[in-house]
Amino acid sequence: MIGVAGGGDSRGRVTVRDVALTFRRADGPLHALDGVSLDVAPGEVVALIGPNGSGKSTLLRVIAGLLAPDRGGVAVDDRPVTRPDPTVGLVFQEPRLLPWRSVAGNVRYPLELAGWSHARREARLEELLALVGLEGAAGVRPSQLSGGMRQRVALARALALQPRVLLLDEPFSALDALTRERLNVELLALWSRTATTGIVVTHSIPEAIFLADRVVVLSARPGRVLADLPVGLPRPRAMSTLDEAVVSPLARAVRAHLEPVAA
């Protein structure tokens, strides 16, 4: 997917240049990221994998403009990121839904903040609910939903403003294996339809391989890029794609970079 033709379609190039970030904490400085560089082409999907505390969430926050790096910088479509941009969609590990709003109210939330007119908002809402298969649940409160449904709502909300880039931080890690598998399949289908650039943090090597065009391995703290491995599986993919011959050597390669840390 690298090198999608230029012009209007080439939205969503992410450039991370030598990003370093240190948290000043009461118990001393904590070096979370140390010189991370990463290029993601428009429409490309990159999986970020690395041990706990390696700064994956921090890196996503920097890309989203929620945290300013101490050194280096991030650009989306060659424009430096200095503050959050609603056209960069975010899905967190927890759904982060407004419990006092219905499903529709939550999906509509970014549109309201952006000042969309009522008519446009409702039209977009319909599309989004259909996109994630929540048409029947518009009036339901988050507390009535299963974990998988909540994460669908979060996904629809992240897609509301037609983001150029979608950042997902272990989006399905709190879900059971079956739900997770199904949502991954849907996410993939969604990606093929929206042509959104994606960066997804995951702890699962098969998940990374299934979803991404490239798997980037981060080192233990402070986070650095250890490996950048192309997946090279054709799309569209199905769960059965993971049975193909190229998968095991690739999984082994990813694991090789993770293992010295895990030991």
């Binding site: 503050r83 941009d85 609603p86 960069v88 967190f92 982060r96 419990p99 006092w100 903040l113 409160r141």
Partner: protein, 249 residues
Amino acid sequence: MTRVGALTALAAFAVAVVAWKAIVVVGGLPPFILPPPEMVGARLAEAVAEGTITPHLRATIVEVLLGFAAGALVALVIGYGLARSALVERVLSPYLVAAQATPILALAPLFAIWFGPGLESKVLICALIVFFPVAISTMVGVRSVDAGLLELGRSLRATRFQVLTTLEIPAALPNILGGMRVGVTLAVVGAIVGEWAGAREGLGVLVNLARGSLFDIPLMFATLVTIAALGIVLYALVVLVERRLVGVR
């Protein structure tokens, strides 16, 4: 309220009345110590009919409502400041606690001297007494807003005002209304205390009259029942608002 709920409440009320009657009969208490419930009921009906209670009730209601509105409004603003600014909290909290620790009973006569026996002194006392629970519950409520939701708001570039209206207020509402439940009942107490310290009318004045110059103990009890009923009605109103605004989450 459900049918069952209403029946339960009615039954509990009946039990209380019967217990009251039993105490009077078993203890052989004379009416000037504890009048029996039917005597108080009859006196209440009579007082309402001859227009003894209504003007006093009206005066107290006006004091409570104005005082509650003023106190709660200031408390919302200050409570928000306490939650969002460490400086505001450091500067203000000693005075807030001191004001709360000072007995309202001691302040009431002072206010009567400063502001006279009219509406103002009572409204001020009500406002003062309502202030603390509402301010503290607002502070706690605003602080309870989930950090993840605030980050979501930031990522969507919500303005300061949008954060307030779409995140902070809805999240803090259950706490705020809890503080208002306490506040509204305290406001009734504040009005009565203020009226005791000096007023021309109000249920507190009527209690004083019935106890003193009139020496009409059944009337005094009838007034106390009215005060309690006022407290219950106001409390129920806040609960109603709470149901409408907070509902099921």
